[in-house]
């Protein structure tokens, strides 16, 4: 008997897509699959979690899990683990789940694997290293449960028509664990579709030379229609575009039909966030840039000269 749990993050729109991805995987490796959902919207998300494989959903709608960072969720998840002893707990590699998994490891003394791209069971998982050039099999040892952080979009979510029993969670959260407060939330997303959902993603890097040249990417996105604009970490850190644009290891993971990398060299940190794209187009001045090794179509040249011609060409085809 293998009991597999998924730490299911909840967004204002419902369960996160990564929660549904992880449940789809969990039901192929676990005899018992449960989800833990903490925060506003948790109970309402239970049917979708059940449809994707959770037989039980431990749920609490308490605001405390959304208003403070990490500690309350870790406390409650730890209490549930102590009570029910799962063999494996899966998390998505997100900002909030990383916090919970890292703290939980200290409380349990369990192993914690990051950046997994495949999970074979409670004792074995895979990751990719060196920008996806090598696949590494990892044996997970030590006390249960084993904790695994999985890269988003490693599995496609598929409903199996199941229903979940909702188990209300009322674990009290001590006040001293709620001292870190989110006092403001700011959204800085661009117009158009979400990066994670867009059919076409156009991402810019240092090769654009100046923040104002991101306008060319917006124009190309508009010409294509329904494309999203992203960026490399280098230009996000430099403040050219907001962090919500970032694609890569510490940003978003995208798997569009077409990914257009503009002036991006293809550092490992970026590649892990986009190499799952079906088709990759790269435009870069440096013909030796590693991004060309991934590209289905590489264009060696100045993006500032190439992009206006591409926009013109697409507009001409449209009319």
């Amino acid at each position: 008997m293998t009991a597999v749990w998924v730490y299911a993050e909840i967004t204002p729109e419902g369960p996160s897509s990564s929660a549904l991805e992880l449940l789809t995987k969990a039901r192929t490796i676990g005899d018992e699959v449960a989800a833990v959902a903490l925060g506003p919207g948790a109970t309402a998300a239970a049917p979708a979690l059940g449809e994707h494989g959770a037989a039980r959903v431990y749920a609490s709608d308490e605001e405390v899990y959304a208003d403070t960072l990490g500690r309350p969720a870790t406390h409650t998840l730890h209490a549930l683990i102590r009570e029910h002893s799962p063999d494996l707990v899966l998390f998505s590699t997100s900002y909030d789940a990383r916090d919970v998994a890292g703290r939980l490891q200290a409380m349990l003394g369990s192993t914690l694997m990051s950046n997994a791209t495949e999970v074979a069971g409670a004792g074995s998982a895979q990751m990719q290293i060196f920008g996806g050039n090598r696949v590494v099999d990892v044996a997970l040892e030590g006390p249960a449960p084993r904790l695994v952080l999985v890269r988003p979009k490693s599995f496609a979510p598929e409903p199996n028509g199941g229903t979940a029993e909702v188990v209300p969670v009322d674990t009290p959260v001590p006040d001293e664990l709620t001292t870190v407060r989110r006092i403001e939330r700011h959204e800085e997303t661009g117009a158009g579709p979400r990066l994670e959902d867009a059919k076409v993603v156009i991402a810019g890097g240092r090769g654009l030379q100046d923040p104002s040249n991101f306008k060319l990417l917006d124009d190309l996105a508009a010409a294509i229609g329904g494309a999203a604009v992203g960026a490399s970490r280098a230009v996000v850190d430099a403040g050219w575009v907001p962090y919500s644009y970032q694609v890569g290891q510490t940003g978003k993971t995208v798997k569009p039909e077409v990914y257009i990398a503009v002036g991006i060299s293809g550092a490992t940190q970026h590649v892990v966030g986009m190499k799952g794209a079906k088709r990759i187009i790269a435009i870069n001045k440096d013909g030796d840039a590693p991004i060309f090794r991934l590209a289905d179509l590489g264009v060696v040249g100045d993006a500032l000269a190439v992009l206006p011609k591409v926009i013109e060409e697409i507009r001409a085809r449209r009319s």
Binding site: Y95, S124, V136, D137, V138, G225, E257, V300, R318
Partner: protein
């Protein structure tokens, strides 16, 4: 205030990493440096201390050669540091590393612990939180801005959609991103001064830890080549590049 920065010596990020026969990253005979991600944390710490007074201490775990990373931080302005080095720590995983770093940090009182978001070589991204839990302090990750106001912490934390403003009492632990503070270049004076700053080397036993506390709980059992992607076409700009791009988009039914 006393700010502790967790730092790591990593193989030169521009180099080509290789795995040894034991599946561990080859670190011997490889040029290394202070993790570029940690430089942002050192810089953020120095700015806090410049504004509020106090001192910056670096804490690291690694082989003897890792003293190079600490000296780099000293040359930027950190006042001193601790390196935990022990043969039993070769191949240590994140839990073992967190136990060691928490024990080393916990030896003296601190107001704030800063770290990078994740290391450039391992990219595990959870270690600082494990350290925070072992130290029993609150934490905020992914800070693009760190301030201390009236003895409390105020950070701007990056999120999927933008950023949150987060407050916390001290002591606390914060991880910082590359937006937090552009690292300064060490001055010649700083480089000279770095040579005489106190650098304490500790073993596991010095921290009251045993080999059992740091036994790895993860083992690489095999490494294989990822399936090779079919080679694409690379053309020069001007050779109908615009038309070729449009064709590929049309093939994908994107236009």
């Amino acid at each position: 205030m006393h700010v502790v920065v967790l730092v790591k010596y990593v193989p030169e990020p521009q180099g080509t990493p290789t795995l040894g026969e034991d599946f561990l990253l080859v670190r011997e005979g490889v040029d290394g440096s202070l993790d570029p991600g940690d430089e942002f944390a050192v810089e953020a710490a120095l700015r806090l201390v410049e504004a509020h007074g106090g001192e910056v201490t670096l804490v690291s775990m690694g082989p003897e050669v890792a003293t190079g990373a600490l000296r780099k931080g000293f040359s930027m302005g950190a006042g001193g540091g601790v390196l935990v080095t022990d043969p039993a720590l070769r191949g240590a995983d994140a839990l073992a590393t967190a136990r060691v770093l928490a024990a080393a940090v916990g030896r003296s009182p601190f107001d704030l612990v800063l770290a990078g978001v994740e290391s450039t070589d391992g990219s595990t991204g959870t270690l600082p939180m494990t350290v925070a839990e072992l130290l029993g302090v609150p934490s905020a990750t992914f800070a693009r801005k760190v301030d201390v106001e009236d003895g409390a912490l105020r950070v701007e934390r990056q999120t999927e959609a933008g950023y949150d403003v987060v407050t916390s009492p001290l002591p606390a632990l914060v991880t910082v991103t590359g937006s937090a503070a552009e690292p300064r270049y060490p001055t010649l004076k700083g480089i000279m001064a770095a040579k005489s700053k106190p650098l304490e080397q500790l073993s596991l036993a010095d921290l009251g830890l045993s080999e059992a506390d740091v036994a790895p709980t993860q083992r690489v059992t095999s490494v294989s080549e990822a399936p090779e992607k079919a080679a694409g076409v690379v053309i020069q700009a001007g050779d109908d590049a615009a038309a070729k791009i449009a064709e590929l988009l049309a093939e994908a039914k994107a236009i």
